[in-house]
């Protein structure tokens, strides 16, 4: 597993897809941290003292992890970071679904109306599979952008 060999074009495609998704997801949150904090609050998982620091920090984490994947720099670290973030999102969405919370996910922006549901979990599992594949693949230096 550690030396999973992906075809170069698959690896590049995964990096573009996951990196692009994370960068896109970060923009609105970076510009509207107050609305993002409200989205996080609705999950009722983050303690009050950490709510705003988390709302400020997480979008930049998404941005730099996505940028690293897109740029082909620190791919292993970025794919580990992305995998951990996706696991966190899956946990948060599952928990909200379990508690029957009728909230929007706040995934791609603060005003998007993505209500949480199984389709979001499916999307996150697809992204997780891709990021784990990148994590355990032999990164080719040739294909860096």
């Amino acid at each position: 597993m550690r030396n999973l060999k992906l075809p170069d074009y698959i690896e590049l495609l995964l990096r573009l897809m996951i990196g692009g998704t994370f960068i896109y997801a970060s923009f609105d949150k970076i510009f509207h941290p107050d609305a993002f904090a409200l989205s996080i609050f609705h999950y009722r998982l983050v303690p009050a003292a950490l709510l705003h620091p988390f709302a400020i920090y997480l979008p930049y984490l998404e941005f730099f992890a996505g940028a690293a994947l897109l740029g082909g720099k620190y791919i292993k670290g970025a794919s580990l970071l992305v995998s951990l973030m996706i696991l966190m999102f899956i946990g948060a969405i599952s928990s909200a679904l379990f508690r029957d919370l009728d909230i929007s996910c706040g995934c791609f922006g603060t005003e998007s109306g993505h209500v949480i549901g199984l389709q979001l979990l499916f999307r996150d599992f697809v992204l997780l599979a891709g990021s784990i594949a990148l994590l355990f693949s032999k990164v080719s230096r040739r294909q860096r952008l």
Binding site: P53, A55, L61, K76
Partner: protein
Amino acid sequence: MKRELGILLLISLAVSILAWAINPDRLPLKADIASYELGVNFDLVNAVDAVQMLNDNAVVLVDIRSGEPEIRLPGAFPVRQESFDNDFRDLFDFILPEDKLLLVGNGDLMSLSAIAERISERGYKNLVLMRGDISAWERAGGEVRK
């Protein structure tokens, strides 16, 4: 891999701290959970966005602070809890139901929300509430008169 992870975590931390430090009023580090719990039914904006909306002539400014505040907001209509009916009558002559009203107070969202509900009951639904107090407004470049 640990090194790469550490670098990404640190870069993100440094940039987020820098971005916050440039404009701390966008989101104070300490969350006022009461305002979240209130489930305010109106749009909330930070002071920077509020000042921008006023500069763009997109809103009518409403000051809900009670009494006669030392620091005044030029051009704002006072609509206070204690004299709501009289104040609203004055405002009523200048606004249309579709006008967007920006409500500014002393940072207490509960008071803002209460006034907003009363205005909303009179048919003026296009309301925006500003998070933060007048000092946040001032720091964001909003005009004040002392």
